[in-house]
Symmetry: C2
């Protein structure tokens, strides 16, 4: 058996499609490290995965809830598909322990189930960071035939919000007693949430939190879809069937309105913009030599030039501002 | 009194230097909104502020600790300066309520003290985001003569880590019982921490947490400065004098080693890099017209082109790759 032939991306994709999880794991590592070849192959064989994002502050119970949704996806599926992939996103920050630890717990629960593929994902090596790496990874999982992809993020920080917004249905998980936090952040919450979950709803304050969320929705200009509020106790499984049903409702809504396609187009636009910027960054790093950079820094340290002037001078002449050939040429 | 003359940035800076806090508040709003003029003026009159970053996960007690450090700065100062500025950074995320709420509490405590200037800062309008807006704001506070600037961030997410790393002394706040989180994130912690604080150290588990941190430091290649670990109970003030002394020790260490200057140079390099990228982003957005962008997206949606190829085609011809004049010309 030749290792070299097996590590060829198209061969790996064939194996992964046939159910080889080791091949899929290797492909995801390639994506994490920014493999353009794998991304391009996945892009040209898009698949039909439905993606569900789960986000919320640390401690909200996202991991346990995701664990329950894995079981729902296996039992009930969408369109008969009973496989499921989970991406647990590690925001690569000094305080991101939760995702990794939660992932380990789930790994044990589902280790023997070959229809469940779980992967925690770091994105340090990927050009464009999370905003590009996650869509790349999701597209790969879809391309190899997985029908449902759950994406779990720690919902703190702008990057993670971008990831959450990059799924078809985004679930924001809160807990009883979070009224003040909800109030302070309503704009951001309304921007990304398709569904609210009040997890640990057996604790005091669940009713008030629900009222706070309803009031927030009442006072805002929600579109044709008003995000439902589902109460769960993920640790016991209470409310999880209702949550799965609500996900299905949102999916039907998107399909019926024909908005799923335009949603995905808007996401591709955002992703493409990120890729454009990342590739420009590469070019700048190549073009601006160390010597040149050092000279500018020295002038700035002397207080003779501010960074904005310096940037403009350094970039002057580097651009032909739109005179290039168009991509469709 | 002419409002128009008073809103001129150089006039505002003169007023702020003379102690006019309303003028300083207006200048910071201009910086938040990305005013290049204010940033350039501040850059050319740098001042001598010493900056202290306070970061840590939500709930660690950062706001209360910062409140205590304000009192220390007022009583003990550095080099006789007894004024202090606080920037509470709002990471503009759906879950950032803490900073804003904490800020309100402090506002009440120090509202009558005209030597304390507190400001919570959002950065949505600023080119380059947090990584550029915060150094800009700090430079302004320094330029108007404030000797000490405390920068408080919610330490979750890569952006906030960048902010924390942009101060002279960075304090990472943890709590008893956070051993697992520390273990999972030691690389990130070691990268940014000049000082560790175990806050709420009257709670069970403080000793174990200290042991975990010491062990982490023992096993890592710390440089000439080994981050000290200070135990505090911010709510009572216990340990806060020791913390202030440790900050002074780190400041002396940087000065004695002559590293403060090279530290600041390295920070300016990072900041300049961000500004370069942000300005390139502006140019790209101008150069790539909506029609052109839409045509590329349509080709991609049809599966005929992957985003990486598309980016390369769109950028082809836009660059002269380094042929431009140098900034020192």
């Amino acid at each position: 058996m030749s290792t070299r032939r097996n590590s060829d991306p198209s061969t790996l994709i064939e194996s992964a499609r046939a159910g080889n999880r080791a091949a899929l794991a290797r492909l995801l590592t390639l994506v994490e490290n920014g493999s353009r070849e794998v991304s391009a192959l996945a892009f040209k064989a898009p698949g039909h995965a439905y993606t569900v994002g789960i986000t919320g502050a640390p401690g909200a119970g996202k991991s346990t809830l995701t664990d329950r949704l894995i079981v729902m996806a296996r039992e009930k599926g969408f369109d008969g598909g009973d496989q499921v992939a989970v991406l647990a996103i590690d925001p690569s920050s000094p305080f991101s322990g939760g995702a990794i630890l939660g992932d380990r717990v789930r790994m044990q629960n589902h280790a023997l189930d070959e229809k469940v593929f779980i992967r925690s994902m770091a994105t340090r090596g990927h050009l464009g960071g999370l905003a590009v790496a996650v869509p790349d990874a999701v597209r790969l999982l879809s391309a190899v035939g997985l029908p449902i992809v759950l994406v779990e993020t720690v919902g703190v920080g702008q990057q993670e919000v971008e990831v959450a917004a990059a799924t078809d249905t985004t679930i924001v998980v809160v807990n009883p007693g979070w009224g003040d936090a909800i109030q302070a952040n309503k704009a951001g919450l309304l921007e990304i949430a398709d569904l609210f979950v009040i997890n640990k709803s057996d604790r005091p304050g669940a009713r008030e939190t629900k009222r706070d969320l309803e009031l927030m929705l009442d006072l805002s200009a929600v579109g044709e879809w008003r995000p439902p509020i589902v109460e769960t106790v993920a640790s016991t499984g209470e409310g999880v069937e209702a949550l799965w049903a609500a996900i299905g409702d949102h999916r039907s809504h998107l399909g019926a309105q024909g908005t799923l396609e335009s949603l995905r187009r808007a996401r591709l636009e955002r992703e493409f913009h990120q890729i454009l910027l990342a590739r420009v960054e590469e070019r700048i790093d190549r073009a601006v030599t160390l010597d040149r950079f050092a000279a500018v820094i020295a002038t700035m340290m002397a207080g003779d030039l501010d960074p904005y002037e310096a940037a403009d001078r350094l970039l002057a002449g580097m651009f032909t501002d739109g005179a290039g050939p168009s991509a469709d040429a």
